[in-house]
């Protein structure tokens, strides 16, 4: 038994404590960055010893509350591996960006960011339902404080809405967890999977879990908290929120809803798929109508996460593997988009599309990155987004061609609004004096350094997807819903 996962999870907490104790702001920033880099390095240690098997790896299991059968139980498999790495990669970038721009209460800000990292890693690694719930709920606190303290105008409203919405959503999940214990006598995820729950319990418990995950994802119509939170959050907060936090919802579906409630999953698959498609189209259309660049990116998240859900509820290997990969892709591309918006905002203090235009002439490096990221997000072949979306659509087509067709419409809309945004910002005539070269400096090396790793990964995933998929596939293939191959669609149009 190794302690790798525990070290990984709690290294940021140690960092947070040290940061709080550090005497000067400069030192705090340096320490926080080092802590996130150290965490990233530790997470990379997962790769050398990785086995392409469906089982949990690097498992740690200790009695936490032996009287109640609650264990401190961590493990990582193909589904969570890349999400863990995504988290540990985005955190140093987010911290590096914050280090440049955050000026008040630096210590608390960085400590909260680090606590956030622990909470998110805990969510992805926990294999005991109670432990999972603890990390899941705890992740709310630092995020709400980050939004509420360091956000923009309407930050308090956004923070409270975010907190209450997601808290209320997960309340029933606790009851469901208790009900599962009542029926199976354990909180151990793997033991519960093999226990086989009665269908009646599955139905109710699935709904309770699904509500929590749907709000977090967010699935239409539970998405209303997201635009508010995104727009008001500080840039690094948005990066973490979009990049990692939303994945907790889809990850929850994969890790809990599908394996624990196969029967209920099959029953509700088409309903949720329909909601996902509505979300894809709705998110895209609303994004198209936005005049604020950050809102546009926020609504694009609703659409993109809809894709992930669509892939998951295709309930076949391709769909789910694509969904896992697409979670990572979305984390990278949306994270990068928020970074770019943030970089622009720090220079001009406005995010209105109408304020910009022709930036290619004044800030070419910025515009180049913007183009690449937009392309990745729109799913251009050769970049990461294409691989994920294509795999998802293949899976969806296999289970329901109509859904796949509607999904393709969503991709077209995505290309439209992203190119629309790019055109508004970078192309056209350079008219606004504030955007002239002498007034608007281009990206500096630090900012390039923040974006470069993400963009490199765009190409890496886009050109060598099998390196990533081969680690995802075994765990996905082992899922009961995938193995049973029972087409779970209630209404289906023959191809």
């Amino acid at each position: 038994m190794s302690f790798l996962l525990s070290i990984l999870t709690f290294l940021p907490v140690v960092g947070a404590i040290i940061v709080l104790l550090a005497p000067s702001d400069g030192l705090k920033k340096g320490l926080a960055f080092s802590a996130t880099i150290a965490t990233f390095v530790v997470s990379l240690l997962l790769l050398p010893g990785w086995q392409e098997i469906p089982d949990m790896q690097f498992v740690e299991r200790y009695a936490w509350m032996p009287d109640l059968d609650i264990y401190y139980y961590l493990g990582v498999d193909g589904i969570s591996l890349w999400l863990v790495l995504l988290t540990t990669l985005l955190m140093p970038i987010a911290v590096a960006f914050s280090n440049q721009h955050i000026k008040e209460s630096v210590g608390s800000y960085l400590a909260l960011m680090l606590l956030m990292e622990t909470a998110m890693l805990g969510v992805f690694l926990a294999l005991d339902l109670v432990l999972f719930y603890v990390f899941w709920e705890f992740s709310l606190v630092p995020m709400a404080l980050l939004i509420g303290k360091w956000g923009s105008q309407n930050r308090i409203y956004a923070a409270v809405k975010f907190f209450l919405y997601t808290l209320a959503g997960s309340a029933l999940m606790l009851v469901a967890i208790l009900a599962l214990y009542f029926h199976a006598g354990t909180f151990d995820l793997l033991a519960l999977q093999s226990a086989g729950l009665p269908p009646g319990v599955q139905q109710l418990a699935f709904l309770a879990f699904a509500l929590a995950f749907a709000i977090k994802t967010p699935l239409f119509p539970f998405h209303t908290w997201l635009p508010a939170a995104h727009v008001q959050a500080p840039t690094a907060g948005s990066v973490v929120l979009a990049g990692v936090l939303l994945k907790m919802g889809t990850y929850g579906f994969l890790r809990f809803a599908l394996p624990l409630f196969p029967v209920a999953t099959s029953n509700y698959a088409s309903l949720i798929s329909v909601l996902a498609i509505v979300g894809i189209l709705y998110g895209a259309l609303v994004a198209l109508a936005q005049r604020d660049l950050k809102s546009l990116v926020a609504y694009s998240s609703v659409a993109h996460m809809g894709f992930v859900i669509l892939g998951i509820f295709a309930l076949n290997e391709q769909g789910i593997s694509g969904a896992v990969l697409q979670m990572v892709n979305h984390g990278l591309s949306t994270g990068a988009l928020f970074l770019l918006v943030g970089m622009l905002y720090e220079r001009r203090h406005t995010r209105l599309l109408s304020e910009y235009g022709g930036l290619w002439a004044s800030v070419p490096i910025f515009s180049f990155f913007f183009l690449v990221v937009a392309m990745s997000s729109a799913g251009l072949p050769g970049l990461n987004g294409f691989v994920g979306e294509f795999t998802i659509l293949l899976g969806t087509y296999a289970s329901n061609p109509l859904f796949a067709v509607l999904g393709v419409t969503g991709i077209i809309l995505a290309a439209w609004y992203l190119l629309h945004a790019f055109r508004q910002v970078a192309q056209g005539a350079l008219e606004n004096p504030a955007n002239f070269k002498e007034n608007l400096p281009d990206l500096n090396w630090a900012e390039i350094g923040q974006l470069a790793p993400i963009v490199l990964l765009f190409f890496a995933i886009g050109l060598a997807p099998n390196f990533f998929l081969s680690k995802i596939n075994p765990s996905v293939a082992a899922l009961e819903v995938v193995q049973s191959k029972a087409p779970a669609v209630v209404w289906q149009i023959e191809p």
Partner: protein, 497 residues
Amino acid sequence: MDTSLLFDNAIVLLPEIVLAVGVMVLMMVDIGLMAEPENRTQRRKDAKAPREQNSAALLSGLTVVILLLSVGAALFIWSRPPAEYLGGAVSDGFALSARLIVLLAGIFGVLLSRNYLPAIERQSGAYYSLLILAVIGMMLMGTATNLIVLFIALEIFSLALYILSGFYRESARSIEAAMKYFLLGAFASAFFVYGSALLYGAGGSANYVRIHETLSSGGGNPSLVLPGIALLLVGFGFKVSLVPFHMWTPDVYQGAPTPVTAFMSVGTKAAAFAGFFRVMMTALPSLYDQWAVLLAVLAALTMTVGNLTALRQSSVKRMLAYSSVAHAGNILIALVAGTAAASSAALFYLFAYAFMNIGAFAVIVALERTGEGDVAQSRFDGIAERFPALAAAMAVFMLSLSGMPPLAGFFGKFLVFKAGVEAGWSWLVVIGVLNSAISAYYYLRVVVAMYFSDAESEPARNTGAGLNFSVTVAAVAVIVIGLQPGLWTGLLRGLGI
């Protein structure tokens, strides 16, 4: 009867005896302090205040020592097998842990009272004696196995608390709180004792076990049982502030001196619930089907009304009062479940609640201006800037009260809800869980005010060794219990009735 029987098993009551002896010592020391330097003060009138302070410090220190000795006595009995004294008091794990929670509340109450009020300073002998006497009454609630003892225990701590609520004699609010508390409390006592009388009539004895024996064997007068239970419930409902018997709670919490409120909110709850659990689960288990439904409805009502009313409060003390109503509803779920696991879950809940609630009141004490008697929520605006440690502690208490993991409050709720689901009361647990989500809003509001709002004026805070110590200990305890609940659940194993 052989009189030596009177002393058999008297050790069961050792913690109470320690306190009773302690009160006498305290009162004598108080008299000694008052009498001795009379001549000198005549000569130097200006030296009067420091002398008063010195004697107050001495008396509060002595009180803490007495309470700690009682803790020691309780731990000492814990190492011995459970025993019963004359069919009136028992020393099992449940009784002992309930006693320890009460003692904890008492110690915190003393620590918070130092330097709080000149009124307390001037009459510190009486104040601390009453506090210890209240602790004796509270400790006996969970210990009693006899309706007579239970009733007297209830009256001891109630009377002491009526007086303590009105201890701030200069404040009309404090006295008014005392009067409202007294009138409604005495009214509820009448119901309580009427209920006890009918149970005695039903079972032919005031002893719980004998009542149970008579009723479960089909004897006695069963027709008296249900009205007896209903009336008893009114009495307990008043003490633990269940809806609709909660009207006194906000007024008394707001009007009473804050250290008294802190002590009372936790001590009364722990004591009354301990007594409530023991009566229901040892005297009336044969009627579980009847009373469980009744209590379930009350629990649902209590949680919902408590939380919804708390949302509208602008005074932090009143908000905490309604929150305590809601928490009573949560704990009641454990009684509805009615299993041994549920009663130890309730103990854990009360244990966690002791730290987080007293901690919250300690922060209020820190922010209260002398003699003001209340703190509006706006007082918390922006205090995180000036007092980061205090704000962080308050945030911990608020989040724990709202049931946010991984803090103590979460595991309290978790255990109680788990017991509820296991006993088949899922609908009630769903209501409880939804209520905790509602409650997050008003607890969060305090956190938001502390961290996100701008300070309206230069904030000030009270300090004091006891106060700082209480806040720190409570905050650390809430976090440690939250991170390592296994330790405490292990200790509480087998403590249910």
